[in-house]
């Protein structure tokens, strides 16, 4: 073919590695400084675990407010998953199969939240909960409703992609063999949707646990403070490396969930004879073909 393919030593190699270093090294440094022995987040004073475990007041696992924020974050993420997963799967199936003018409206309505800036959603929900649906108090419940609304679209996108790739033939075969419409759905389609369900669990968990804007607009002070809110309010103050430790914990949590999800996905694929392994699992989660 042409010589384009063989330009291995193209200057782009440096650009790409430069980018990777630029994008990751600052974060790695921030992680390292969470183990700083001193109170500074920028001058190294020796290694210690004081900001993680040992300091009785300031370490993240012993400080009451930080522990409260950690448990708030986990509860919010899990509660959102419980609500948004069934809602999103049903909406994905329904919106893919209804026809007519209603279908266009439903599809428009499901894809718009995905590209609406979070500040707009957060502001709109804040005004709604304080002036229209005043039965919903700000705090955990409002944050739950907000996060479900914002992440519903991503579940629908992930599940719908899987529905498209499955096609209708499996269900039709089940129907021909005497299954009722419901049985075909329950015993044929749903089990095949499993990888997309797992992928959306991972994506939604990571979105909610990291969410700052909506959760902050709908919070009601300390009782509903999550980890991102706590980080945000102390970044520019004279915070100790405990802040770095807390942020590191957040990153570790999402990566743990991501890695568990990726392995679960590739195991599922292997067991069910689908090709692709880890690469396909990565594509499931990022919605981008590798």
């Amino acid at each position: 073919m042409t010589n384009l393919v063989s330009t291995r030593r193209s200057p782009l190699v440096f650009v790409i590695w430069g980018y990777i270093i630029w994008s990751l090294v600052p974060v790695v440094i921030a992680v390292i400084y969470s183990f700083n022995d001193g109170r500074s987040r920028s001058v190294w004073q020796g290694f210690s675990l004081r900001w993680w475990f040992t300091d009785p007041y300031a370490s993240i696992f012993r400080n009451d407010e930080t522990r409260n924020a950690i448990s708030n974050s986990l509860v919010l993420a899990l509660a959102t998953l419980l609500v948004v997963t069934p809602l999103g799967i049903a909406l994905a199936i329904g919106s893919q199969r209804i026809r007519g003018r209603g279908a266009n409206y439903v599809q428009g309505l499901t894809s718009t939240p995905l590209i609406t800036p979070e500040i707009v959603v957060g502001a709109a929900l804040l005004l709604t909960f304080t002036r229209l649906f005043t039965a919903v108090p700000l705090g955990f419940f409002a944050q739950l409703l907000g996060n479900v609304t914002f992440s519903l679209a991503s579940v629908v996108v992930i599940v719908r992609a899987r529905l498209v790739s499955i096609g209708a033939s499996f269900e039709e075969a089940a129907r021909d063999l005497g299954a009722s419409r419901w049985q075909a759905l329950r015993f044929v389609l749903l089990p095949m949707l499993w990888p997309s369900v797992m992928a959306s669990l991972v994506v939604v968990f990571a979105t909610v646990i990291d969410d700052f804007v909506i959760t902050s607009f709908l919070s009601a002070g300390v009782s509903s403070e999550t980890v991102p809110l706590r980080i945000y309010s102390s970044v520019r103050g004279g915070a100790t490396p405990a802040l770095n430790a807390l942020a590191t914990l957040l990153v570790l949590t999402s990566f743990t969930v991501l890695i568990i999800g990726l392995f679960g996905l590739s195991t599922w694929r292997k067991r069910h004879g689908e090709r692709g392994g880890l690469r396909a699992a990565l594509a499931d989660v990022t919605q981008i073909e590798g």
């Binding site: 042409t2 384009l4 393919v5 330009t7 291995r8 193209s10 782009l12 190699v13 650009v15 790409i16 980018y19 990777i20 630029w22 994008s23 990751l24 600052p26 974060v27 440094i29 400084y33 920028s42 001058v43 809602l87 049903a90 909406l91 329904g94 919106s95 209804i98 026809r99 209603g102 428009g108 309505l109 499901t110 894809s111 718009t112 590209i115 609406t116 800036p117 500040i119 707009v120 502001a123 709109a124 005004l127 709604t128 002036r131 229209l132 479900v148 609304t149 519903l152 990291d210 607009f217 980080i231 945000y232 970044v235 520019r236 802040l243 957040l250 990153v251 990565l282 990022t286 590798g290």
Partner: protein
């Protein structure tokens, strides 16, 4: 499959109702607050639920303020910062996505994984990392001092804010760009080369026109959240001299007694972004139609 419309409608109803109640109606609520009145005693915004009694005096005032008055600076700055950050994102991101799609070879999975990592690192963590490096005794500040650069990075520096936006949003550009370029039929580009085009001509006349729709969509995908960003500014600058429209919205809704102004700014921002959003939705719908065909 298609002969059971009621069943499928039943599946779509709960989610649709959810989105109507918690996504569509809230927008209406914003309008009702924005065009509502102000309580004469408590000075609080009183929403007007009927469009017939909407009052546009405040809206006119905010519009004048955004175009010629005190908010003009904020509006212009928002556009300027987003345009600068977007251009930098493309200048850095396009070659990377291009390389990944075209030349990565055996290393592709490794590089792709490393590039996806920031995607999964919390945005606040990534900003926090730079706050540490750029603070007065931070590593980067100290490093730059060796070259005689003594700059106060975190105190209202537009450079820091723009670079912060680039740093924050570029992962969200590179992946969709890569996906677009990956889908291209590279044989056509090879054909152009074989027919005598040099690499620059092949790029300008074949690669670019073929990937244009994807490039625009990817750009919009990061422009939208950037226009609504206030936290990057808050974390890296905290100065009125770098405020963007998002900071004003955050201020009016969360820290002032004038939520009506906040509602009006949300409305103004949404209307401005609606242009980009509808363009994006139309182009992705066209793409998915091409795929299903």
């Amino acid at each position: 499959m298609k002969n059971s419309p009621r069943l499928w409608a039943g599946f779509a109803i709960p989610g649709t109702v959810w989105l109507i109640v918690l996504f569509a109606i809230p927008f209406y609520a914003v309008a009702c607050v924005a065009f509502g009145t102000i309580d004469p005693i408590f000075r609080d915004a009183v929403p007007q639920w009927s469009p017939l009694s909407w009052d546009f005096a405040q809206a006119r005032q905010i519009f004048t303020s955004l175009t010629t008055g005190p908010l003009r600076g904020v509006a212009m700055r928002t556009v300027l910062y987003v345009v600068c950050a977007m251009s930098l994102c493309f200048v850095i991101g396009f070659p990377i996505a291009f390389f990944l799609a075209r030349h990565a070879g055996k290393r592709k999975l490794l590089l792709l994984t490393l590039i996806i990592v920031p995607f999964w690192v919390n945005y606040l963590m990534r900003m926090l990392a730079w706050v540490n490096l750029l603070s007065v005794d931070g590593l980067f500040t100290r490093f730059m001092r060796n070259f005689g650069v003594n700059y106060n990075w975190l105190d209202g520096s537009p450079i820091t804010v723009i670079l912060g936006l680039v740093y924050g949003y570029i992962p969200f550009l590179i992946l969709p760009l890569y996906a677009t370029l990956e889908r291209l039929d590279w044989r056509l580009i090879d054909a152009a080369r074989d027919l005598g085009a040099n690499s620059r001509q092949a790029f300008r006349l074949v690669t670019l026109p073929m990937s244009k729709a994807g490039l625009v969509a990817a750009g919009i995908l990061i422009a939208l959240p950037m226009f609504g960003d206030y936290y990057t500014n808050d974390l890296l600058s905290r100065s009125p001299s770098t405020e963007m429209i998002g900071n004003q919205i955050d201020f009016f809704l969360n820290a002032s007694t004038e939520p009506q102004k906040g509602a009006l700014l949300v409305l103004a921002l949404s209307l401005f972004l609606l242009l980009f959003m509808s363009f994006y939705l139309r182009s992705t719908r066209q793409q998915s139609r091409q795929v299903t065909r």
